[in-house]
Each structure stands twice: as C-alpha cells, then as structure tokens.
C-alpha cells in the first residue's frame, strides 16, 4: 500500500462532503464574492423596497419641467432628469424593472436552455433532431431583429412582454452549449458506472450530467444577466423596450444619452454607473460561483 502514503497530501483540511456545502464555504471566504453580493443585495433592495432609499415614492416624485437637466446639487444629489425629476430617485426606482427583467429572463432562459439541452443531448435520436432544428430556427433569428419583430407584433411593451420576448430569443444558445456539453459528459465512464449501479436516467442527469456540464452555461448565464440589463436599455433606445412613464435604467439611459453628450453628463453617468456596477457585481458573483463549484480548482 505504498501509494496511500504518497496520496495524502499534507495540510488538507477535511471538508464536510457535499459539493454545494463545500462551494458555499469557499464562497463566503472569498472577499470579491462578498463585496459583489453586498452590491447585489443593495441593488435588490432598491428593486424590492425603493422607499427605504428614497422618500419620493415609486413614481419618481414630482417633476418640475423648469428644473430640467439641473446638475447635482444638495437638493438633487444626482441632479435632475430630462423631465426635471430627481435623478437619484430615478436611479433607485429604475432598478426594479431592470432587475426583474434580468433575473427573470436569466432564470427562465437557463432553465429552458438547460432542460432542452439535456433532453436533446442525453436522449438523442429524433428528439434531438427535432429540438436541434427548432433551436436552429430561433438561433437564426438575430437577437435584436427578432426582438423588434416580436415586440412590434405584441404592441404592448411592459416588463412581462419584454421579458417574454427576451426569453424566446435567448434560450437557443444555452440549449446549444448545454447539448454539446451533455454529449461530451454522457460518454464518460462514470455515467456508465452509475447506470451499472442501477441509477435511473433522472438520477444520472441530476447527479452526474448536470454538475459536470453546466460550467459553461453558468459563465454564459451570468454574462447574459448583465447583457439583459443593457438589452433592456437597447430595446428602449430602439423604441420597442419599456415605455415611459415606467422608470427603468434603460429608459433613463436612453433618454439621457443624447443630452449627456451635449453637455449634461450627469444624465448618463449616474444611471449608467448603477447599471454597470450591478452588471459587474452579477458577473463577478457568477465567476466566483463557477470556481467554487469546481472542486479541482481548490
């Protein structure tokens, strides 16, 4: 038994066992993750309890057009918007639709994408063929153009329709990547070993296939999360996103950007900074999570 001695690398603290528990322990010791999650929590609290942060109410407070585009002052610490509303209040209240869309769409996209990817990759056969062709149809629709066509058809543009259209257009890449990943993992011996042990397909999928194939999807999904926040803004910019009087970062950025360049930078800087910091925090969290879920990296 000489190998035993060589294998036991010294100084290894023994862990409690489950991948998730280990990952969690890893995460809360990671300062980057902690900072990022604090940011995310703060932004989440803007989205859920905006009144904790601003006294103007969820409609952005009174807007006096004569106060349009004022710079930051003690009264309006972020200045005022195009309509003369308090920019600070808009930044706080604008979090809600942006966060709801981003989180909702990312969750739905990932769930659908992963589920379909696993089905296509794991079961294969005609199911794979049909799913892959359907994926192709939607993949072929360029994202923005597809969103334009769908939203123009829906006519109604609110958080739910924008989310729905984003989901419809963004599951295919995740499905694609998941499918490829699953096909790779499916062929590995440990999957066959599980089958030899009498594991059911479901059990194999959840215990082995998913944990080992989901890494690229997690990376993509967290990037998507950030992408959706700015996609909402871009759709608004193109005239098919959320509509005023809804308050969202996208609307504030889209409204402000023309004037920001024409000499009112605060119209862009504050909402854009909120957007960027949020996206950054989500992505950093995703990175840390992916690393933590991979025991080989420890």
């Amino acid at each position: 038994m000489s190998e035993l001695a060589t294998a036991a690398t010294a100084g290894h603290t023994e862990r409690s066992g489950s991948l998730w528990a280990d990952a969690w322990r890893e995460l809360y010791r990671n300062p980057v993750f902690v900072v990022a999650s604090v940011v995310v929590l703060i932004v989440m609290s803007w989205a859920v309890f905006p009144t904790l942060w601003t006294s103007t109410g969820t409609d952005g407070g009174t807007c006096e057009l004569v106060d349009s585009r004022l710079g930051p002052s003690s009264e309006h610490i972020f200045g005022t918007t195009f309509q003369g509303c308090d920019m600070y209040s808009h930044v706080i209240n604008g979090a809600r639709p942006s966060i709801i869309i981003a989180v909702l769409v990312t969750l739905a996209t990932t769930l659908i994408g992963v589920a379909l990817g696993v089905i296509a990759g794991f079961y294969g056969g005609w199911l794979d063929t049909v799913l892959s062709r359907i994926t192709d149809v939607f993949l072929g629709l360029p994202f923005l153009l597809g969103a334009l066509v769908f939203l123009a058809l829906l006519g109604e543009q609110n958080i739910w329709t924008v989310s729905a259209v984003l989901v419809v257009l963004s599951w295919p890449p995740i499905t694609r990547i998941m499918r490829g990943s699953v096909i790779q993992v499916k062929a590995l011996d440990y999957v066959e070993a599980a089958r030899a042990l009498g594991a059911s397909n479901m059990s194999i999928i959840f215990r082995h296939i998913l944990p080992n194939s989901i890494a690229p999807v997690i990376v993509l999904a967290t990037l998507y999360l950030g992408g959706f926040v700015s996609a909402e803004a871009t759709l608004t910019f193109l005239g098919v996103g959320l509509q005023i009087p809804e308050i969202s970062w996208g609307i504030t950025v889209a409204q402000g950007q023309d004037y920001a360049i024409a000499g009112y930078p605060h119209l862009l800087i504050f909402p854009c900074a909120a957007l960027i910091i949020t996206v950054l925090a989500f992505i950093v969290m995703g990175d840390a999570m992916r690393d933590a879920l991979d025991p080989r990296g420890r």
Binding site: M1, E14, D189, Y190, A194, N212, L293, R296
Partner: protein, 352 residues
Amino acid sequence: MTEPAHATPDRAASAGHGEMVVSVRDAVKHFPITQGIVFQKTIGHVRAVDGVSFDLHRGETLGVVGESGCGKSTLSRVIMGLIPASSGSVNLLGDELVGMRERDLRKVRRNVQIIFQDPYASLDPRMTVGGIVGEPFRIHPDFAPRGDRRGKVQELLEVVGLNPEHINRYPHQFSGGQRQRIGIARALALRPQIIVCDEPVSALDVSVQAQVVNLLERLQEEFDLSYIFVAHDLSVVRHISDRIAVMYLGKIVEIGDETQIYEHPTHPYTQALLSAVPVPDPALRGRREQIVLTGDVPSPANPPSGCRFRTRCFKAQDICAEKEPALVSRDGSVQPSACHFAKELDVIHATR
C-alpha cells in the same frame, strides 16, 4: 496484508464446480450501420458479438482476451445488460436479461458490477469519494439506511485499502491506483456476486497493476465473487483467471482452463497471441518461434466466410472458407476450440 497464493489448477478445478452464476447462450449484439441522406436506412451490421456462449461459476474468474475491437468490451456490457443483446440468452443468477424491461434490469444489475479501464474517467470529478462510493446506497436506499451510509462507505474504503479519513476528498486528489481502488469500492458496495472487470489495470503502472490484481484476488476470496476479467494482457489474465476465453471478431475461438490455454493452445489464433507474449527467460529470448499474423483484423461489419480467422491463419485451407468450425473439442484438442485443424502447439516453450 497477506498475498494470496497464485492461482493453481486445483483451485480452478474446485471453483469450476460451484453454482452457475452467469450463463450466456448464443449472445449476439449487432450494431446497425445506417446510411442515407434524407432517410436513414440500415445497410449492414457491425457484428460486435456474434454468437457467444459460456458459463461462469460462483467464485470463478473467467478471463476474456483478444485484440482490441474483437468485441470484449461489448460482451461485458451485454452481460451487464447495459447494452441489450440483439438475440440469444444472458442468464444472470436465474434471471434472463434479454428482453427484460429497463426498470427490472436496474434491480438485477445490483448483482453484477463493473470496474472500468480508465480510473480518471470513471469517477465523477465533482463528487467526493464519499459521494462516489456512497452512490450505490443512494440509488438503492433499502441497502443501507441513510444514517449508516457514512460508516458503510468508510468500511468499504478500508476494505479496498484506502484511508477512510479521506472520505471527503475529491478524485483528483488521488493517484491512478488509488482511484481504481475507489472504483472497486464502489463496485463492491452493493455486495454483488459478479464483477465485470473491463481491463481494470491496463491504464496503470506495472507495479500498481500487481497491487490492484492482488486486491481483486483478495476480495474474490473474501466476498466469494465471480469475475469476468477482460484484458488484452495475457500475463495478467493468466495470473488471475481460472478459465480463459479467447475472442476473435465477436466470437469465442477457444475456451479452457489456464493450463489448457497457456500450455496446450490448439487454436492458431491463441497460439499466435501467446507467441507474442514477452519471454521472461533471457536465455530463450530471440530464439522462440514467433507466429506473426499477416494482415489487419477484418471489418466486423463484413467478416470473412467460414472461419473468421482464415484470412490471417497460417493453417488456412479451402474448407475454412466454406464451413464455419464449431467451438467443440476435437481430436487434437481437449478444450473446445473453433478450428477445423485444432492441434496443440506449445508456443511458449517452443524454440527454433
């Protein structure tokens, strides 16, 4: 730990009288070859396993040897029910696997487990050793209640010679040999009666190979296991097996006990294989008559008529192309041998 004695003929004989655990009759596995641009149509079959029959008794080890691509691995999967046989019969402890529903197969499968060739690919990198070895218990919760599992896993680790403290480690923290032990522990967890070893040591260093083989032998005694030991390394197979089946292109060409196959091979293919085994005696080295097979292994999709080995056989005659030789004992051979001209030839000791 004590090293068990080398297998001896008498041990093989005694094992041979045990209760029959596996009985394979005319097992066939054909993989369809499809072609077509719009519609796929079957244009032929890869005859990976083409009519194989053998028995395995309790406590016995059956070695299966042959070149790569001869159908060894497929055969082992067929025995496990992982790949359904196209026809024939695979009887496992009284249960007929062929035609069995997947749900029932899962229950039967706990009696037969597998050890894989590649210890790196056969362990889920994202599971701890505890998770891997405990997985059988999770799948069959009736086998070990939740509370007992950790203890049982540690017990198993101890049995295969690993430190039970390492239960929370991940596979990448172990060496190849250790990982193979983890695989063995997993295979043992459900107390199977049969273990299929699919080239379990071919990916390991030679020194480690011996340790693993010895472990397997020890476990066989301890748990009264029956092994099907698939390998292409003849010396390892000889070391562990009671009986040996030689496969060529999806068929068993010769089957017999260790002495019969190694000392008195009668099939030209067996003889050719043995002549390629390295010679341990330096004095004999280079002086032995080597049978060099010409040509490549024919495609299993389109095997030669009659005797499948005839295209590369040094004894081939016209009859070989016309009539397929049955796997029976003939005048020149005690053990069943699928050759019209079966005749003993001591290739191991033969010198020029």
